[in-house]
């Protein structure tokens, strides 16, 4: 009963393509560990958690139990292991996980905050395809970001544990600092990823020159 494969027609593409995947080679060829490096961390599970102001404490407890970390304070992110919980706005959190699928994480979180009553105290939406994650790492990372970000990124004001939404080169990004490398994670909308990676590669130029 097998249908004959028509060799003239291309087979449907089955492999996933990340928004900045076509720039991976250029990213890998730019910079070094002693200056700054840029790479994409594709296909992370991302789930948006929206909490009613009156249900904040209940949701924080149930979500915290599921995630293994408390929901973050304003301007912060939490999570030691796999899932990171990022504070996006009042009652608005983004959960990022590299060990789960978006659908699975959303189902688990929805069950955790709503139980059999069905997401009573929060709304949970799988937004994995909305943004892709770029990582910018190295001693010059802060200078590279300073080319297009108005935020004060001095360690005194923005350090590991901080997460915020802001503009980078006119594109809306989520900016998360992971460690004192410094390593920054940029959560950028998929349609802006090509533009932002090209912009970052351009901004990195003067910092990766061999003198």
């Amino acid at each position: 009963m097998d249908e004959a494969v028509n060799p003239t027609l291309p087979l449907p593409r089955v492999e996933r393509q990340s928004p900045a995947g076509h720039l991976a080679q250029r990213c890998a060829a730019t910079g070094s560990d002693s200056t700054v490096t840029l790479y994409e961390v594709p296909f992370l599970a991302q789930v948006e958690l929206r909490v009613d102001p009156g249900e904040e404490r209940c949701a924080a407890r149930t979500a915290g139990e599921f995630l293994g970390c408390a929901l973050p304070e304003p301007g912060r992110w939490t999570g030691h292991g796999r899932p990171h919980a990022l504070w996006c706005g009042p009652g608005w959190y983004l959960v990022v996980d590299d060990s789960a699928t978006g659908r699975g994480l959303a189902a688990g979180l929805a069950a955790a905050v709503g139980g059999e009553y069905g997401a009573q105290c929060a709304s949970v939406v799988d937004v994995s395809a909305q943004r892709t994650v770029l990582e910018l790492r190295g001693p010059r990372a802060r200078e590279v970001l300073a080319h297009g970000c108005d935020l004060d990124l001095h360690p005194r004001r923005f350090g590991p544990g901080n997460y915020t939404h802001t503009l980078l080169a006119k594109a809306t990004v989520g900016l998360q600092q992971l460690d004192n490398g410094p390593t920054y994670r940029l959560l950028v909308r998929a349609s802006y990823a090509d533009y932002l990676v090209n912009w970052l590669l351009d901004a990195m130029c003067e910092h990766v020159m061999e003198h």
């Binding site: 706005g89 009042p90 915020t164 939404h165």
Partner: protein, 93 residues
């Protein structure tokens, strides 16, 4: 450029915000009692002072919340900000 203090995110550049006009324009208690002139007044007519002015800003590139900001329209000094509805720093006129 203005540096606008978002009540949740802290001081941010004006480019991250959208302007929302005058703040604290109360909805009429009984809209049906208004005639067309009064209704148009409520909908379209806003103060335009030279000096301190309570206005709304939407942090579109940040926390995506509205806030009220007290700004001097002549000097662009900002006295303070507050979540919509919360009490805002009153500045002597």
């Amino acid at each position: 450029m203005l540096l606008i203090p978002c009540p949740w995110c802290g001081p941010r550049d004006e480019a991250e915000f959208r302007y929302g006009g005058q703040a604290r324009v109360a909805y009429p208690e009984d809209p049906w009692a208004l005639d067309d002139t009064a209704w148009a007044e409520y909908l379209f007519v806003r103060d335009n002072p030279e000096g301190w002015f309570a206005e709304r800003w939407f942090h579109t590139a940040g926390c995506r919340r509205w806030c009220d900001v007290m700004r001097d329209t002549a000097t662009n000094r900002v006295a303070g900000s507050a979540p919509t509805g919360a009490s805002l720093t009153e500045v002597t006129k």
